[in-house]
């Protein structure tokens, strides 16, 4: 089966501003792909192109083999926008009914009950949206995105309005979706969240992907620390394979070695290095 999402030489200009500049990446079936980047980096433009809300200036985007924005693509897509609202006069259940009909879902009452259960809103099924808290509306938005069992879920800042308990629900949901082989393109500012759940991550800056890989591969090569009788020596660019040579050199210089360890950077370190490298 092909990729759930493909971006190929994707570019977007807003008059003189180049929001995307030749972006290439793929989201495989069942993969959870995280997009990281500062405000204005082009993340939202990218996901909006994927949903057909924004037209690219060049390149192409595909959703499950269909050009992004077409009915065929949208039929396989679930989308949670960063800024969204549902009509306040609808109840939670009615929002889902509307989206079931619009997406030709035949899930009926059972699908709605399952989705509301999944995001812990079962007891609010008959509550009007206008009476819900922001966090409840955000969770309802996620349930709405899951209507019709989409093959690709595009989530733009899904946890931005959630408290820690709500975030945990979404993390558990993402893990479950991974188990169901649903592909997810996750756009988030929360590095720890991306680090916890994503299979692969891309860091996007000024419309370009500057770093891409698994969270482990991005964190790798993060240096060696050696505790000696004269203090801790740092070798920030060293990798694990270089440890014997480093130890030999220190011993030859007369140092006594007490402990050797590789240091692991967090995704936040990687992200900040990438951002500072591009903007500093």
């Amino acid at each position: 089966m092909g990729a759930a999402f493909v971006a190929e030489s994707l570019s977007k200009n807003y008059k003189s501003v180049r929001a995307l500049d030749g972006v290439n990446f793929e989201v495989a079936e069942g993969e959870l792909f995280g997009l990281l980047g500062p405000n204005g980096a082009g993340k939202s433009t990218l996901v909006k192109i994927g949903c057909g809300l924004v037209h690219p200036s060049g390149g192409r985007a595909e959703v499950c083999g269909a050009p992004a924005g077409t009915r065929a693509a949208n039929a396989r897509l679930g989308y949670l926008a960063e800024l969204f609202r549902f009509p306040g006069w609808l109840t939670a259940d009615e929002v889902l009914v509307l989206h079931q009909r619009l997406s030709d879902s035949d899930g009926g009452t059972r699908e709605r009950a399952e989705l509301l259960e999944l995001i812990d809103l079962s007891r609010a099924a008959d509550r009007r949206v206008e009476t819900m808290s922001k966090g409840m509306q955000q969770r309802l938005g996620i349930a709405q995105a899951l209507v019709g069992s989409p093959r690709l879920l595009i989530l733009d800042e899904p946890t931005s309005a959630l408290d820690p308990a709500g975030r945990r629900i979404i993390r558990a949901l993402l893990e479950e979706l991974k188990g169901r082989r649903v592909s997810v393109l996750l756009n988030s500012h929360l590095l720890s969240e991306v680090e916890l759940v994503c299979d692969r991550v891309a860091i996007i800056l000024a419309g370009r992907i500057v770093s891409e890989g698994t969270p482990d591969s991005l964190r790798a090569g993060s240096g060696v620390e050696v505790e000696t009788d004269s203090g801790v020596k740092h070798f920030p660019d060293a990798v694990r394979d270089e440890i014997p040579a480093i130890v030999d050199r220190l011993v030859a210089d007369g140092a006594r070695i007490y402990e050797v360890r590789t240091t692991r950077r967090s995704l936040e370190d990687v992200y900040l290095e990438a951002v500072e490298g591009q903007t500093g």
Binding site: C51, H55, R71, P87, W89, R101, L102
Partner: protein, 282 residues
């Protein structure tokens, strides 16, 4: 049919949103005021019991019904502007549009559905309001126009055209700007109609031409004038002449091409709206 689904949601919205409670209240206030005005005019006027050169009761009753038709038109326009002025850009800025448009229905279906819903509600509303005015006038004066269906449908069509123009504006303009533009366009059409009436009274071809051009450009005005004309088309002689001198007399007869033009105009505005909306980044 997703078009009908979306249209039905506009009807549900009208039945549920608190702001729409104002519509029946203000409509009842308008009808109450209209009833009071007609009742007072007929109660206080001293109509001659001897047949004169013109029928005073007929002139008063038809002029008052013309006023009722204008009031219905105005309220119908306010309603359809309110139902359509945020549909594209306004709703996109609020985030209401994105979850719906991303579904497999296409932007064209979305627009047609929303417009169909707004047009149905507004047409029914304006026709109902006008029918109430006819009944009030008949109940008090004993007069009702020979032709009621044609002016009612023309009034409905006029309101739909204002809605179509507002929908087109909603693709480009932010909410308030679009609402203001739509109402100013409506006002411009009314002024053009008055210029035509003045031109007719003063026998000024220049003023009449200005009005004619504006009526083609904004055919809701021509339809409104045609509705006024239809109301009094059975009244001849001095009575008819006096009625047509007034602001609600419908002095300007519609061109035979008005209906085809209206259909073509609506289609062109609709296609333009869809064309621009499909190209817009949301």
């Amino acid at each position: 049919m997703k078009v009908l689904l979306l249209a039905r949601y506009v009807l549900v919205e009208c039945s549920r949103r608190r702001v729409f409670i104002v519509v029946p209240i203000l409509s009842a206030a308008f009808l109450g005021l209209y009833w009071f005005a007609v009742a007072r005019v007929f109660a206080t006027s001293e109509f001659s019991s001897v047949p004169g050169p013109f029928d005073e009761r007929l002139v008063v009753a038809s002029t008052m019904l013309g006023l009722g038709l204008f009031g219905s038109f105005f309220l119908g326009v306010v309603l359809i502007v309110f139902l359509t002025f945020t549909v594209a850009r306004g709703d996109a800025e609020q985030g209401l549009l994105q979850p719906v448009v991303v579904r497999p229905l296409g932007r064209r279906t979305f627009l047609i559905g929303r417009f169909l819903g707004a047009a149905t509600v507004s047409m029914l509303y304006v026709i109902l309001l006008f029918a109430c005015c006819v009944l009030i006038t008949r109940g008090i004066s004993g007069w009702s126009p020979d032709n009621v269906v044609q002016p009612a449908l023309e009034l409905g069509a006029a309101v739909v055209i204002v809605g179509a123009l507002t929908l087109l504006g909603s693709v480009f303009l932010a909410t308030i700007a679009n609402g203001v533009t739509a109402l100013m366009l409506f006002g411009t059409g009314l002024v053009a109609g008055l210029i035509g009436q003045i031109g007719e009274a003063l026998n000024s071809p220049t003023l009449e031409n200005i009005s004619r051009v504006m009526s083609w450009a904004l055919p809701f005005e021509a339809l409104y004038q045609s509705a006024l004309t239809s109301l009094t088309e059975g009244i001849s002689g001095l009575s008819g002449f006096l009625i047509r001198l007034g602001p609600f007399g419908g002095a300007q007869e519609a061109s035979p091409g008005l209906y085809p033009w209206t259909i073509g105009y609506l289609a062109a505005v609709g296609l333009l709206t869809i064309w621009f909306f499909r190209r817009r980044d949301l």
